[in-house]
């Protein structure tokens, strides 16, 4: 028994299930229609994002190519034809006003939106879980320090400060900046929830049992308590994804997000707002993509949990 071995375990991924159950879980998921469909859709989106230039090549429309012929400039730029200008040429229609191809923009937008939303979710979850659990577990000065930092970050009206900070930062790599800023302001929300639940769980007898088994604090927190937080975490993280797509949209809309003309789903949804009555497809298409992505993530999350939970029974 060495101390080094301890710290290594802490650094490792929290609560890895036994390897054999990995195969069992995979097997269970393969037999689950909803899980298969969700995975397929997510794969499709990822593929779309990767192959965006290919899609542009095939349809012949880049994400920023104006097609004034596809819209009626006399009518404020409403797309010609029904359903937002859906045609053989533009399979998902065109944007009102300037006639950019929606399919191309969706594909390119997936790159930015998913990168930002997923990365920000991952980062906030990581920070929120780690710091929230430590605060909840220690309840001493560590809690005080972490809580005051959380209070401080949460005390700022996030949007105002994101704008102030982002607009004064150099242009640089916008998506990365966005991820960082969103995460910095976003993690305390999750952390507080995690902290509360950790405080409750830390007093449970099984934690004491694990401590008696020689678990280091890190192991106690991440291997014993964390699995018991799973339900809340799954809900909060899956819902964080559309939330962050929305934040990205809002920030882009306010001009501190992704620099145009780079498309993003959030931007598309934000700019579709005014057109809800005239060209509902303009909102419906990116909205549907976002919804299905989130739905797939949630379903997959749920099914994964069920598969892990089922153990011997079921």
């Amino acid at each position: 028994m060495t101390v080094a071995a301890h710290s290594q375990q802490v650094a490792g991924p929290p609560a890895t299930p036994p390897a054999t159950s990995g195969r069992r879980v995979a097997g269970a998921l393969l037999h689950d229609r909803a899980a298969v469909l969700s995975s397929a859709f997510l794969a499709l989106i990822v593929l779309m994002a990767i192959c965006a230039p290919l899609i542009s090549l095939i349809t012949g429309h880049g994400p920023n190519d104006f097609d004034t012929a596809a819209v009626n400039t006399d009518l404020g730029g409403v797309p010609h034809g029904p359903l937002g200008g859906i045609s053989a040429d533009h399979p998902l229609g065109v944007e009102p006003q300037n006639g950019r191809d929606i399919l191309a923009r969706i594909a390119y937008g997936a790159r930015v939106s998913l990168l930002i939303a997923l990365a920000a979710t991952a980062l906030t979850t990581l920070l929120g879980v780690v710091l929230g659990m430590l605060a909840g577990f220690f309840q001493g000065w560590a809690d005080q320090v972490i809580c005051r930092v959380m209070d401080f970050l949460m005390a700022f009206p996030a949007l105002i400060f994101m704008i102030a900070i982002l607009s004064s930062l150099p242009q640089g790599n916008r998506p990365v900046l966005l991820i960082v800023v969103i995460s910095v302001f976003g993690w305390p929300y999750l952390a507080r929830v995690v902290r509360g639940q950790t405080m409750t769980l830390a007093n449970r007898e099984f934690v004491e049992a694990a401590r008696a088994s020689g678990a280091s604090t890190g192991a106690l927190v991440f291997k014993e308590i964390l699995p018991n937080l799973r339900s809340s975490l799954i809900v909060m993280t899956t819902l964080a994804v559309p939330g962050y797509v929305g934040t990205e949209a809002g920030l882009s809309f306010l001009g501190v997000g992704v620099t145009p003309p780079t498309p993003s789903w959030g931007q598309m949804i934000a700019s579709s707002v005014g057109w809800y009555a005239v060209d509902p497809m303009y909102f419906a298409i990116p909205g549907t993509f976002l919804f299905l992505t989130v739905l797939s993530l949630t379903v997959l999350g749920d099914r994964l949990r069920a598969a892990f939970d089922s153990g011997e029974a079921a």
């Binding site: 028994m1 301890h6 036994p18 049992a209 008696a212 088994s213 699995p227 018991n228 939970d309």
Partner: protein
């Protein structure tokens, strides 16, 4: 040789009334005893007399309000870091409430591997095999290794707790009502296992129990607790044969027995 020594351990619980008024309650009051290497010290006594609290303190799960604790001659009352880790490796606990002490989100296998994992021990043949072997030892079906605690009966859960304590080779095992939920035949098996381990590996036990017959079987010395204090401490024979304390005498008198008549008839039939 003394393995563990408790000096004047005291625990006060402060509870808050509905209006925030504090009341302190002394659950354990200046308790001193020692546990020798390879010995079983039984602790018996009234329900609520502070046995579990004492056990928690000597397992370093509860900070004593007063008093000190020595392990292998070293003061571990305030042990931290490596010293504490060493202590944890040497002292294991079996908890009174079987379900509460098992993580509901872990499989039995994971629960049994926990001490190995946390103490960085890799047994020959791997941890998983070790876990299965432990299950077999305490009479559980190794095929159930992927079940979760809720899928077991009370006695089975208790055996999981025992198996966990035996997973690493501890020097001292604190058993808080470790066999109370087991039927007599399994109980006999488990007790036999404990005794064998004691013989072969020199384990020491602090054995908290209500079943005085079991205590008599397994313990070399007995401490009797009442209202937070040790009222009597002596060899098993001495305590059972010639109890000094009034409470001990009441206790011994209250042991339920099978009708001797039935007993006799049964023996005759065999």
């Amino acid at each position: 040789m003394t393995l563990l020594r408790a000096n004047d351990l005291t625990k006060r619980f402060v509870s808050r009334g509905p209006l925030g008024a504090k009341t302190a309650f002394t659950a354990v009051d200046r308790v001193s005893f020692d546990v020798r290497l390879g010995e079983t010290l039984a602790v018996v006594g009234e329900s609520g007399s502070g046995k579990s609290t004492t056990a928690r303190m000597i397992a370093k799960l509860l900070e004593p309000s007063e008093g000190t604790l020595e392990f292998e001659g070293e003061d571990v009352t305030r042990a931290k870091g490596a010293a504490l880790a060493r202590f944890r490796g040497n002292v294991q606990v079996v908890f009174q409430d079987p379900f509460s002490s098992l993580n509901p989100r872990h499989t039995v296998e994971r629960i049994l591997m926990a001490p190995l994992l946390y103490q960085g021990i890799a047994p020959d043949g791997g941890r998983r095999a070790h876990a299965k072997e432990l299950m077999e030892r305490v009479g559980l079906d190794p095929d159930h290794s992927l079940r979760y605690p809720a899928q077991f009966s009370g006695g089975q859960a208790q055996r999981i707790g025992i198996a966990r304590a035996l997973a690493v080779n501890p020097k001292l095992v604190i058993c808080d009502e470790a066999v109370s939920a087991l039927d007599v035949s399994v109980q006999a098996q488990v007790i036999e296992l404990l005794r064998r381990l004691q013989r072969e590996s020199g384990f020491s036990y602090v054995f908290i129990a209500h079943d005085l017959a079991v205590v008599r079987q397994i313990a070399q010395r007995v401490a009797v607790m009442s209202e937070g204090r040790i009222v009597e401490l002596g060899t098993t024979a001495q305590v059972f044969g010639d109890p000094k304390d009034e409470y001990t005498r009441t206790l011994l008198a209250a042991i339920p027995r099978i009708d001797p008549e039935w007993e006799r008839r049964r023996r005759e039939r065999v």
